[in-house]
């Protein structure tokens, strides 16, 4: 699965995700990627999120939207909200995976409960970072 979150010059947040799904999948199985609020969500008032991982858990826990909701209703930062959902709620339920998330100020969170996640960013200062583990 691949995903992106961006903040453009007008202050608009956008999220996008694309995937081939699960090896050996059948029966018309669809994961979380195209499900709004599960694997992907964007609201310029809170944050943009793209997720990757065990889709069935992302769907049931509405991971992407829940991160935005924690910011909106609990006033949490993007990092705290993403860690709360991925490292607490999702992981304790048995769901593996991670997210990239960005708030309206361009702050970035990259949180995963797996051994690694291919990831990278260019932040508002123009700093480039890539990581795997």
């Amino acid at each position: 699965t691949v995903g992106v979150v961006v903040l453009d010059r007008s202050g608009r947040l956008t999220a996008a995700t694309s995937t081939g799904g699960l090896t050996n999948k059948r029966w018309g199985r669809v994961g979380d990627t195209p499900i709004i609020g599960a694997g992907t969500y964007a609201d310029s008032r809170t944050c943009a999120v793209s997720g990757t991982g065990h889709g069935e858990y992302f769907m049931r826990y509405m991971v992407a939207y829940d991160i935005c909701a924690e910011m909106k209703y609990q006033g949490r930062s993007i990092q705290v909200a993403a860690e709360s959902v991925v490292m607490d709620k999702l992981k304790s339920a048995g769901g593996n995976g991670g997210v990239i998330a960005m708030d309206a100020q361009g702050n970035i969170a990259m949180v995963f409960n797996t051994p690694g996640m291919y990831r990278g960013y260019i932040d508002i200062e123009g700093k480039l970072f890539t990581g795997i583990y």
């Binding site: 995700t17 799904g21 090896t23 050996n24 059948r26 990627t33 990757t52 991982g53 260019i122 795997i132």
Partner: protein
Amino acid sequence: GRVAIAVHGGAGTMKPSRATPELERAYREALTVALKTGYAVLESGGSGLDAAVATIRVMEDSPLFNAARGAVFNSSGGNEFDAIIMDGDTLDAGAVAAIKGVRNPIELARLVLERSPHVLLVGESAQEWGREQGIEFQDPEYFYTERRWKSLEAARERARQSGIEFDPFPTQENKTQDKEAAKDFDPSGRFG
């Protein structure tokens, strides 16, 4: 008007035994190209939608990632794609699921957002609508990668050995029931 971009290429990283420096470098380079592509769009004043699609296209065209060209195989040996794009200003969204043969599913998702009154289109009908919109298709060979095919064969073998017809998410319990199958168990396999 400051801009920023972040990407991921999946949470299932390589097994340490397969993580050669060359492969790690290839992943980092692909991530960097994707980032710079999207960032260039943003810096030139392009919209978030334009930047997101340009970025995802780079990764969909790479054989390294589980999306489009590098996608995993389903149980019948084909590829099926899902994609979505969402605009945070308007909450407009476009998504496609279980589509086949589309070179860049993210472009079809954007068309759903911009040219249809719907949010999510699925399967053959979505493909047909995409053809009417002029979306590019590719033959199955374009999406073939040896690595993903071997992953499918391994998944089939795991299923055969465990006696469970389809178990993409082996539990600790059924892993330990079959020690041989457990040896090959790769938790990242669930992410393709």
